[in-house]
């Protein structure tokens, strides 16, 4: 589960619990490098690589290349192709074997045994064994890296033999697989690579591509791994450049200077559609954006006051202004395509209703509201202005405070806000969507929501192994959460990417994983 957002930037980890998250924003402008001509030729340094090199322009530069430490989406756009996890999500976000060939769960659900794939080697030639898995997981937990919380129920990770790993949990954990394989933040790393410190600039993985060169401020080059366990990729390698300016990336794509990019502002999508030689991928994502009212501040501790805001906002305008129609409205977190989806549409734009509810909440005089927005996610500033305009007739003056994301996190965690807007992304299991945000003990419950019934439902769902029963528990919890406006859910944005028609076999995935291992590229 990763905090926040937007196609071009994201951080990983629990915003509530993690201090000092490093965030790269797409709009920072600085350090952008466009090497659009020379790139392709120089990229493939390895002797074996024969296929053409894919030129990909990502919207920003990675902060570092250690998958377990970074919280930047830009890093994962590269590392997705360099590292492997034990299991990994397929296109429907169901967990499939990766480094683990198979696994079984004990009767009581407390012991998981993973059988590892044999004959897998790291890019430096060393063999992949069960010890690497133990080392990787221990490192995340011992160093309290940003994904340590995913091991909350894990009591022990043991290498039974070279190709078997046994994980013991304290209570049945039906979502263990998505915790371990949801994204490359749980990648299996090599101990020598970590200990030498090289992992931040020259990571060594087991994945389909080997990282050969990282020129800070300029580019990253990957070369196909001929020994990849899933079969050698057809393309010879990948040349990544960092292009934060959407218009630049779009022009480069149309001029055949790059083959793929995700640096596309929603408002410029129109200019790409129907363009010759360009394919556009717009896929509903598993991310969601929401509003949260600080329940420690009056009158927002009152349910009616929060509901009043939920009725007072014009969702349609917000959706249009932030996504130009690419996002999908949703009054709960989980998107329609997910198997965990629950139908819910209680709220509508209704000023009279909002007025009634405010009166019921005992709000009589004018109210001033501090809206915490962040310039790193411009959608928060855009929506804030619409919401300010929506709430004005109700006698609520919205003061928009725009800060950088690091400050934003501090302010959120110290409860210094009335209203905020943020997004979560990378969610797969419903536990990712609801537990830490709405359980009274949740690590990201900055709004201070506490409902014993919701706690009970979320606790029960965590250990419920029957899928139908589990889905039902989450549906109940989610409905109560939205009814009581712990979060006011807004929408699920889309993943927006574009690529050359020369590139085949690529699909824009709803979890934003950028996988190039199965693509083919016409020879230039």
């Amino acid at each position: 589960m990763r905090r926040s957002p937007a196609p071009r930037a994201l951080t990983v980890g629990l915003a509530g619990a993690t201090a000092g998250l490093l965030v790269l924003t797409a709009c920072s402008g600085g350090g952008e490098a466009v090497d659009l001509d020379g790139g392709a030729s120089g990229a493939a340094g390895g002797g074996e690589a024969t296929g053409p090199v894919l030129r990909a322009a990502i919207a920003g530069e990675p902060d570092q290349l250690d998958p377990q430490s970074t919280s930047s989406y830009f890093s994962f756009e590269v590392l997705e192709n360099v590292f492997d996890t034990l299991v990994e999500p397929d296109e429907n976000l169901e967990m499939q074997p990766a480094l683990a060939e198979s696994w079984e769960t004990s009767e009581d659900g407390l012991t998981w045994t993973f059988t590892l794939r044999e004959g897998v080697t790291f890019h430096d030639g060393s063999e992949f064994t069960a010890e690497d898995v133990v080392y990787s997981y221990d490192r995340i937990v011992d160093e309290e890296l940003s994904n340590a919380w995913k091991f909350g129920s894990v009591t022990d990770v043991v290498a039974t033999d070279d190709s078997t790993v046994t994980i013991t949990v304290s209570a049945p954990t039906p979502n263990l697989l998505s915790s371990l394989g949801g994204f490359k933040g749980l990648a299996i790393v090599e101990q020598a690579n970590v200990e030498s410190g090289d992992i931040t600039t020259k990571p060594v993985g087991t994945g389909p591509f080997e990282l050969t060169d990282y020129t800070p401020g300029d580019s990253i080059d990957l070369v196909a791994n001929p020994d990849y366990w899933g079969g050698a990729p057809e393309i010879g390698g990948i040349h990544y450049t960092f292009v934060s300016e959407g218009s630049t990336a779009i022009a480069a794509l149309q001029n055949d200077e790059i083959d793929w990019t995700d640096s596309i502002p929603a408002q410029q999508l129109e200019s790409l559609e129907g363009a010759e030689g360009v394919e556009v991928g717009v896929t509903p994502s598993n991310d969601y954006w929401y509003l949260a009212l600080n329940e420690a501040k009056e009158p927002w501790g009152t349910v009616e006051a929060r509901q009043a805001i939920a009725y007072a906002i014009d969702r349609e305008s917000i959706l249009q202004a932030v996504s130009y129609g690419t996002a999908q409205e949703n009054q709960l977190a989980i998107p329609e395509d997910s198997v965990w989806y629950t139908d819910y549409s209680t709220y509508s734009y209704d000023e009279a209703r909002a007025r009634d509810l405010l009166a019921q909440a005992g709000v009589t005089g004018p109210v001033t509201m501090d809206f915490l927005a962040t310039s790193d996610y411009p959608e928060t500033v855009t929506a804030a202005q619409i919401i300010a305009s929506n709430l004005e007739p109700l006698g609520i003056t919205v003061n928009i405070r725009t800060v950088d994301f690091a400050t934003w996190l501090d302010e959120q965690n110290s409860g210094n806000f009335d209203l905020l807007m943020m997004g979560w992304l990378g969610n797969i299991d419903p536990d990712d969507f609801y537990y830490s945000q709405h359980h009274s003990q949740g690590g990201s419950n900055a709004q201070g929501y506490a409902n014993p019934e919701v706690d009970r439902l979320l606790d029960a769902a965590r250990t419920e192994t029957d899928e139908a029963a589990r889905k039902d528990l989450y549906a109940q919890a989610a409905t109560t959460i939205a009814d009581e406006a712990s979060y006011i859910y807004l929408y699920n944005p889309s993943v927006i990417q574009a690529w050359s028609t020369d590139l085949e076999g690529y699909t824009a995935r709803s979890d934003r994983a950028i996988r190039f291992r199965d693509v083919t590229l016409a020879q230039r």
Binding site: P265, S271, Q320, A321, S375, P378, V381, Q385, I400
Partner: protein
């Protein structure tokens, strides 16, 4: 335009080249007769140049817009109307609409007050603090001078924007912070200008005489030093307001100045940057407003310098005389 007519070839005060060094000093030396006669002369010299007149008229219009902004605006400035977003200029919206469907004309008009207010408050701050420090420094001399001027040197060493950014970073973005940040950044220049003038006035015989006669420091500062430095400070003020408007625009463009939804010209440019290819009007009109206002302040500042600088002033006077002669048919 106050062109001389043949009927009045020589205004009584248009005698070039007052003897006795810098005109400002002369004014200070004769406070009784100076203020009445001189400004009129300077005024007329200033308005002699069409560039100055146009600049003054532009600034007057800008000032009126700043004062009446919200009353002139055809639409509520923050009224969001997303279905009407990104409309090109039309009869209903002369300057088009922005990404939230707000009227760009209304926002540009209302932003005038914000932009001007930030610039004027900031420069007023810089003026008061800077001139105060400069005068004291120049007049007192000694260790106080050394300390104050080294402080000014330190501030000068910082690039203007970097210092402003640092101040905003510490205090958090907002209107008040922006004013303060720009004010602090422009303080050293006023301190230098005031000190340099104060230094030269301090050693003038009339100041020495005044001192010998037992006049208090405060009175000397007010009576002699302050009028003596007025010229350069006025010029600096006009130029600084121009730069302050630009600084505000730059800070707001970086998202650190005036906070949304309140419009300022810089903030409007910030909002426009994602839409340059689809909605040129979002950037062009606030950009034009900045351009015109800053240019007017700069040109007027140049004009003021010409008039207030004694050497330039006598040149202007000579030119004016020549012109008057030519009109009167007199060969010089």
């Amino acid at each position: 335009m106050t062109q001389l007519t043949p009927g009045s070839p020589l205004p009584e005060d248009a005698v070039p080249g007052q003897p006795g060094g810098p005109s400002g000093v002369a004014t200070a030396a004769r406070p009784d007769e100076g203020p009445a006669a001189r400004p009129a002369a300077g005024w007329r010299l200033l308005l002699d140049s069409p560039v100055n007149v146009v600049s003054a008229v532009v600034l007057l219009v800008v000032l009126v817009v700043a004062l009446l902004g919200p009353a002139l605006a055809p639409y509520a400035v923050n009224a969001v109307d997303v279905p009407a977003a990104l409309q090109p200029p039309s009869g209903a919206h002369w300057f088009g609409t922005d990404d939230l469907g707000r009227d760009v004309l209304s926002r540009t008009l209302v932003a005038t007050r914000v932009s001007l207010q930030v610039a004027v408050v900031a420069v007023a701050f810089a003026l008061v603090v800077g001139v105060g420090a400069g005068i004291v420094s120049g007049y007192a001399g000694g260790w106080l001078d050394t300390v104050l001027m080294r402080l000014v040197d330190v501030m000068f060493a910082f690039p203007v924007m970097l210092l402003a950014l640092a101040i905003v970073a510490v205090l958090g973005p907002g209107l008040t912070t922006t004013q303060l940040a720009i004010g602090i950044v422009y303080t050293p220049i006023f301190a230098r200008v005031a000190r340099a003038s104060a230094l030269s006035v301090r050693v003038e015989p009339f100041v020495q005489v005044s001192r010998t006669m037992g006049t208090g420091h405060a009175l000397i500062l007010r009576r002699h030093i302050l009028p003596g430095i007025a010229g350069p400070v006025i010029v600096q003020t006009s130029l600084s307001v121009a730069f302050a408007i630009l600084s505000e625009a730059a800070l707001s463009f970086l998202g650190l100045g005036v906070q949304p939804p309140r419009p300022s010209w810089g903030r409007m440019l910030f909002d426009a940057q994602g839409f340059l290819s689809q909605a040129w009007w979002m950037a062009v009109f606030p950009g034009l407003a900045i351009f015109v206002t800053v240019l007017a302040f700069n040109l007027l500042g140049d004009g003021l310098r010409d008039v207030l600088d004694p050497r330039q002033r006598s040149l202007l006077r000579t030119r004016r005389l020549l012109r008057a002669h030519r009109r009167a048919g007199v060969r010089p």
